[in-house]
Subunit: 432 residues, 2 copies
């Protein structure tokens, strides 16, 4: 093994620049810890002329992927270019050339993780992707190693910084969704086309990766029910406050016996739940294990240097494995058959807001409807609204999703109910 | 390597029982992940007759340490007996017999960690102690591996569950220190002799371990300034609330350039700081890295199963290393010379409560005194107290510890000041 480990970088955007910077600034520490230096040998870029956020020797830049992937000096490929198809091709090529791969690409891992892991194994290569979930938080490592002797039953995460920023602004400053989104775009927390973030797709991809590692089963993106935050109204956020509930976009992965459910949706959390006070662009993941109980991991979910820190943690692990000669020996792989929980086995509390005709006996008819379905209330809030109508909000005790959907259907037909204005899952209530 | 890994357990108390239970209940998972079973071969106990919290085959119990430490079938020694001298002797003996060691013993590691690590290295053995800090939180692993490419500059931790429980009861329920302590003892969160917890010694030992790993330097227990919570009054907690400050027992380790400081003391945290909402017996550690920014790890700091989970994570790592043939290759060891920061280089904000004579110009004289020392105020609160006196509370901006001590000395001499009632460090204010 050479005295210096050579890295090929695919992409030199926000994260790639951070990786370059950390390798440069922490070179002395790296040498001290690994007994050898780390060097970026080649960087694949789209455009050689583009202005960079980081000082870089132009001679190492190339637009020719062969110069990186077929470079015999390069031991480790770090993929930080994003996108799915090209990234997948490059990584497959790298692995087949026996190069280890570190990637920050959640889209790719969510869609093609199992295929890439298989090719990595076949070629005796490491494939690590700590940075794909939770940015700088050493999260996958904690789930995979730290809680290895435990059985993880539930993972609840705020895994998208953009939506958490928007919901924080709506909650704390009373900004509208549109204003908060615009502010997030100005600050660079949201992209020009924010769809993937605000519609929950980004969070769904991360939950696929987390659920796979937590439950050791092959969760796929299609298994995840996804709802974003673009319909969340200030009205509900304000009602939530009165009920000691905080709105967050929650990625939820739960195992009950052998059955699992994975979804992403705006969720009301009890104010006392540790996730409820995770604000702004921060991420946090709350993991419940059979033995350990509840643990939470908190930190920056994105950003150049935080994400690069996670990438470099993986790079350091690859290098350690190279020194020890034990690459490609990852011990965790899917071991359980996937069984998705049917609606009747998925329990939760729910918040339902109804526009109700303000007439005698209206509430009795509503509560009668819930009673027939065996759903009891934890909290009720009634407020006069416009002439002749009231807002009625009920927070149910735990009930099955099937039951809850039946309740919605029946409520639609009830003549005292003008309309169902909104409904959200409620979590974290009885737990503390 | 045998098809079953054999463990020798030293101690069968709270944590030992948890270890037995996890090995039994998660045997199938362990076999699946490691390709071999894990078996407890022998357990060293003090008293064979004692009633146990866990079902155990009595034939594996012994009072003779040789039957465990000299047992040729045993690969890994798990030390969960506590105490320092015997535990140290046993572990040294085990390492010299080429057995790997996992321990949950913070006292031992804080006092003799470097010696034990050296002997482990010399004998090609693993020595892991994840459970010694933060119970079930995979914390040391995160600091050592997850943030390996970063430079950690500050670690702030709630690392003692007993004191956090007591302070939470005082803060939330207005209980006196004595009542809260008694309640903690009833619930088993505090021992009959609570000294080590309430006087901060337990937290100090954990901070030694955290500081060593974070700063890669040989911090010793004598380097830690320690102050416990037995003097904390409800009065200050209530004043804190008015100033948006929450009282916590904080372990603090900071590096500025090459200089470090480590201490444990009751500290006022800004309410908005993530550590401020860590309540009851929970622990959390807030780590600031140069690149990653701020991350927090939260979870149960003690308890049978949570702590056993951390012990078993270490055991699993030892077994993985055995399978790969790479035991005893820990890459992190102290690399920097230890330099303690002198008082003039230790900066913080401070809360100071004075009993002041209620006379014209009193406050002017006090503020004059601070002004002369170049200390400015962030917040001031004055409340009439008993006849002729007022409570004056000032929260300073950042100042050096040297300056702060000078201020206390000068205040003592000021005739308008009847007495200095209390003073606390203030953290987390400007940071979010």
């Amino acid at each position: 093994m050479a005295n210096e480990v050579s890295i090929g970088l695919l992409g030199l955007g926000v994260v790639g620049s951070g990786v370059l910077k950390i390798i440069e600034e922490h070179q002395e520490d790296l040498v001290h810890r690994l007994g050898r230096g780390v060097k970026v040998e080649k960087v694949l870029v789209r455009n050689l002329e583009k202005a960079r956020q980081v000082d870089v020797d132009e001679r190492i830049l190339t637009t020719n992927s062969d110069e990186v992937l077929k470079n015999p000096n390069i031991d480790i490929i770090v993929e930080v270019m994003g996108g799915v198809d090209d990234a997948r091709q490059y990584i497959l090529e790298a692995l087949k050339a026996k190069k280890h791969v570190v990637t920050a690409n959640k889209d790719l891992i969510a869609l093609h993780g199992p295929e890439l892991e298989k090719v990595a194994r076949e070629n005796g290569c490491d494939l690590f992707y700590e940075a794909s979930v939770g940015g700088g938080i050493p999260l996958l490592r904690s789930v995979a190693d730290g809680l290895i002797s435990d059985r993880i039953n539930q993972v609840m995460g705020i895994v998208n910084g953009t939506t958490n920023y928007i919901l924080t602004k709506m909650t704390k400053d009373g900004q509208s969704y549109e204003d908060a989104l615009r502010k997030a775009q100005e600050l660079g927390f949201a992209e020009a086309d924010p769809t993937a973030d605000v519609e929950g797709l980004d969070a769904a991809r991360k939950m696929v990766i987390l659920a796979r590692l937590s439950f050791l089963t092959n969760v796929e993106l299609d298994d995840v029910e996804v709802k974003g935050i673009s319909d969340v109204s200030l009205t509900d956020i304000e009602y939530g406050k009165k009920l000691d509930l905080t709105m967050k976009l929650i990625g939820f992965a739960k195992r009950t016996g052998q059955e699992i459910e994975v979804n992403v949706q705006p969720t009301f959390l009890a104010d006392t739940h540790p996730l409820a006070s995770v604000n702004d662009e921060y991420n946090a993941v709350y993991v419940s294990g059979e033995a350990v109980g509840e643990t939470m991991f908190y930190g920056p979910g994105a950003g150049s240097l935080p994400t690069a820190t996670a990438v470099m943690a993986d790079v350091v692990e690859v290098i350690k494995n190279m020194i020890l000669g034990v690459n490609g020996k990852k011990f965790i792989r899917p071991q359980f058959e996937k069984k998705l929980a049917p609606p009747e086995n998925r329990y939760s509390q729910y918040y339902i807001r109804l526009k109700v005709k303000d007439e005698t006996g209206a509430f009795a008819r509503i509560s009668d409807l819930f009673k027939k379905l065996g759903i009891s209330f934890e909290r009720i809030l009634q407020t006069p609204r416009e002439e002749g109508y009231a807002d009625v909000i009920v927070v149910t005790h735990e009930t099955s999703y099937e039951n809850f959907k039946q309740a919605l259907e029946d409520l639609e037909k009830l003549d005292v109910v003008d309309s169902i204005r909104s409904h959200y899952r409620v979590e974290g209530d009885a737990k503390r």
